[in-house]
Amino acid sequence: MSSEPGGQGLASTGRVSRLGDLDYAPAPESAAIVSIADAYGLYIDGHFTDPERHESFATLNPATAAPLARVARASAADVDAAVQAARRALPAWSALPGAERAKYLFRISRIIQERQRELAVLETLDNGKPIRETRDVDIPLAAGHFFYYAGWADKLAFAGFGPDPRPRGVAGQIIPWNFPLLMAAWKLAPALAAGNTCVLKPAETTPLSALALADILEQAELPAGVVNIVTGDGATGADLVDHPGIDKLAFTGSTEVGRQIQRRLAARGLPLTLELGGKGANIVFDDAPLDEAIEGIIDGIFFNQGHVCCAGSRLLVHEGVADEVLRRLRRRVDQLRVGDPLDKNTDVGAINSAAQLARIGELVAAGEAEGATRYTSACPLPAAGYWFAPTVFTDVAPAHRIAREEIFGPVLAVMTFRTPEEAVAKANDTTYGLACGVWSEKGSRTLWVAQRLRAGVVWANAYNRFDPASPFGGVRESGFGREGGRHGLEAYLDV
C-alpha cells in the first residue's frame, strides 16, 4: 500500500513504474479566497441581527476539528421575528409579476456562478467534502436550480397545476448538512419562483454557505424579508415547525426527525414535504457493463463520504459475476484517495461531525458482530479531524443492521441474487424507497426492474445523477413530495 495520504492506485496494486513513484503530488486549493467572519448573526428582514439571547455555537472544519466561526443560535423569539418578516414581505413578493421574480432568481444564479470558487472552498471547509465535489457538483447545481426555477416564475400557468396557481404563503424550510448550499437552493428556488417567502434553517454543523447565500441575496437586492435565515440546532428547527405563522413546511433530513415533524404537524393539516433517508440498492446483472458498473458502485457509496440520502449503500450483484465484481471493487476501493478535502486529488473527504463518525463506527461494529465480513481500505487517515476509511461488507444477511439501517457513511453492504425477481425482492426489502441503480445492457429488463422497484428515482447504468430539471424524492419512509423539475413546483403552489 502507498504510505502517503492520498496514495494513488498504481502503487497500491504493486506495479512499479520505471518512472518511479507515481503518487499524485498534493494540489490543494487555497483557502485564502474565502474570508470567514469570527461570528455570524441571524439573517432576518434583510439584516444580520444578533440573536435575542446572544447565544452562539461553533461550527468546525471537520477535516481538522478546528473551529471556523461562531454562529448564532436562534431562539423561539428569533424564529418568530423571522416568520413575521416573511409574512410582511409576502404580499408584495407574491404580487410581483412572475417575470420580475424571475429576474431576481436569475441574478442569484449568476452571482452564485460568479462566486463559485469562493463558495466551493467555503463549503468544503465547513462540510469536509472534497473540493472536487463542491466545485463540480454542489455549486454548479445550486446555480442551476436558481436558473431553472427562475424560468418557471413567469410560466406557472403552464406547469400543469391549473390556470391560476397561487403561492402557499410563508414556507418554513429545514435543510441537512450533507449538501448545504445545494439543499438551500433546492428549497428556496422553487418556493421563491412560486411567490412564497421563506424562513430557512440550515443544519447546525454546516451553516456557513447559507450565510454566504444571505450575502448573495443582498447583492441581488432581493427585497428584505423574502428570505430569512435562522441558524441553530434541532430546537430551532422545532420552533420553526411549531410556528403558527408558516403555511408550508419542507424538511430534508433523517426519517426519524421527519416522522417527528409529521406527528407535530398532524393536527394542523399544514402542507408538508419530507425528503428523508434511504437505503439505496445498486443492482448489477451478469450482463452489466462492468467497468461502468464498478465506477457507479464506487460513486454510489463513496460520493460525499456516503453522506447522501440516496447513496447506493447496498450492492446486489448477480451470483455469476459476484467474484469478479468484488475483486475489482476492492481494487478500486484501495485506489480511493482519502484526506485533505481541499486537495483537488482527494476522492473521499472528512466525515462531517464527531457524532456522525460515532454513528458509522457503531453500525460497522454491529456488522462485524453480526457476522458480516469487513474489508476496509488500508489508506492512512489524517490524525486530526473526523475520518472513516472506505469499507465494504460481504457475507451480509438481509436481517443485518448494516443491510437495513441507513449508515450515512462510506460503508457498502454486498449481497447476491440469482434472478431478476430475487433482485427486486431484495432491493424492496427495506422500509425506505429513495433511489436504486440498475446495471445491465438489456434495456427491457432494466425497465422491467424499474417498474417493480419501490423507489422515487431509478438510475439505469448510472448513479447519483442530479439535474435541476429532474424530480427527486422518495416513496415509503423516504418521504413524500418532489424537488426539482416541473414536479418540484407543486410543493409551493396552492393548487
Binding site: G151, L447, W448
Partner: protein, 283 residues
C-alpha cells in the same frame, strides 16, 4: 471650434457568424419613420439566402447538442447583451418606428423581458410538450419534442425589435437555427440583434440576418428545401409563400397575435416535431 463629424456605421448581413456585404454588391437606403435618410443597408441576393440557409444547417446540430440548460443560459446572455445596449436599441427603434424616446425604450424593455421569458423555456418545453404515454402492452413509451431544423423567419414589418424577438427567439429555444429576413423598412434593430447573437455564445450561423427586398428574398427562403419551418409574421403575401413552402412540407406559422406569456405556446409549438420512443419491458 469645428463640429466633430460623426462616424457612421455600415449595416451588413449576418451570415455564418460573419458580417458581410451582399455578394451582389448591392445596398438600399433605409429611411426613418419621418422619411429622413438613416443608413444604407446591404441588399441581400438569392445567393445570400442560400448561403445563410447552409450556415444555419451547419450550426443547428451544435446548438441542439448543448444541454437545454446551457441553451437557456446562452439565450439569457443574449438578453444581457440587449439590456446593455438598450439605449442604442431604443434610439434605433425610435427612429425606425417614429416613437418618442420613452415609448421606444419601453418597447425595447418589453422585448428584453420577452427574451428572458423564452430563455427560461429551453429546459422546460420537454416537460410541458412531452411526457410518458401509458400504452397497453409491455412497453415504456415516452414522447419528446424535437426541433424541425432550420426556420426561415419573415420578421414583423412594423415592430422592429419587440416583435422580432418573438419571431427570432422562439425557434431557437426549441433547438432550431434561424434565417431572418429583416423588416424591409426597419431593418437596423434586426442587424443589431444579429451582432449581439454573434457575441452571446450562440454557435456561428445559428442566427443569420438578411436585409433587402422581401419580394425578392421571401420566395427563395420559402421554397428552399433545407428550410424546415417558416414564420410568415411579416409577409405581405403569406398565401403565396405558404404555397411555395408546401413543396417540401415545410412547417408554416401564419401571422397572428404576438406571443405573450399569457398568449400560450403557439410559437414554441410551431417548430417542433414529436419523437416517440417505445422500449420493451420484460425480464
Amino acid at each position: 471650434m469645428s463640429e466633430r463629424l460623426d462616424v457612421r456605421k455600415t449595416y451588413k448581413l449576418v451570415i455564418g457568424g460573419a458580417f458581410v456585404r451582399s455578394e451582389s454588391g448591392r445596398a438600399y437606403a433605409v429611411a426613418g419613420a419621418d422619411g429622413t435618410f438613416l443608413a444604407n443597408a446591404a441588399r441581400a441576393s438569392r445567393k445570400d439566402v442560400r448561403d445563410a440557409v447552409r450556415a444555419a444547417q451547419g450550426a443547428q446540430p451544435a446548438w441542439v447538442a448543448h444541454s437545454a440548460l446551457l441553451r437557456g443560459q446562452v439565450l439569457y446572455r443574449l438578453a444581457e447583451m440587449a439590456e446593455a445596449r438598450a439605449a442604442e436599441l431604443g434610439d434605433h427603434v425610435a427612429q425606425a418606428e417614429g416613437l418618442d424616446e420613452a415609448a421606444a425604450r419601453a418597447s425595447v424593455a418589453r422585448g428584453v423581458d420577452r427574451l428572458v421569458w423564452y430563455a427560461g423555456w429551453a429546459d422546460k418545453v420537454g416537460q410541458v410538450l412531452g411526457g410518458a404515454n401509458d400504452v397497453a402492452g409491455p412497453y415504456f413509451n415516452f414522447s419528446v419534442p424535437v426541433p424541425v431544423g432550420v426556420v426561415g423567419v419573415i420578421a414583423p414589418a412594423d415592430s422592429s425589435f419587440e416583435g422580432l424577438i418573438d419571431a427570432l427567439v422562439a425557434p431557437l429555444v426549441t433547438g432550431n437555427a434561424v434565417v431572418v429576413l429583416a423588416s424591409q423598412r426597419r431593418p437596423v434593430p434586426a442587424v443589431l440583434l444579429g451582432e449581439m447573437s454573434a457575441t452571446a455564445d450562440l454557435p456561428a450561423g445559428l442566427v443569420n440576418v438578411l436585409t433587402g427586398h422581401l419580394d425578392e428574398l421571401g420566395p427563395v427562403l420559402a421554397a428552399h428545401e433545407a428550410v424546415d419551418g417558416l414564420d410568415l409574421t411579416g409577409a405581405s403575401d403569406p398565401a403565396a409563400l405558404a404555397a411555395l413552402a408546401a413543396d417540401s412540407l415545410t412547417r408554416v406559422l401564419h401571422a397572428g397575435p404576438p406571443a405573450t406569456p399569457e398568449g400560450g405556446l403557439r410559437r414554441l409549438r410551431a417548430f417542433v416535431d414529436t419523437t416517440t420512443v417505445w422500449h420493451t419491458v420484460g425480464a
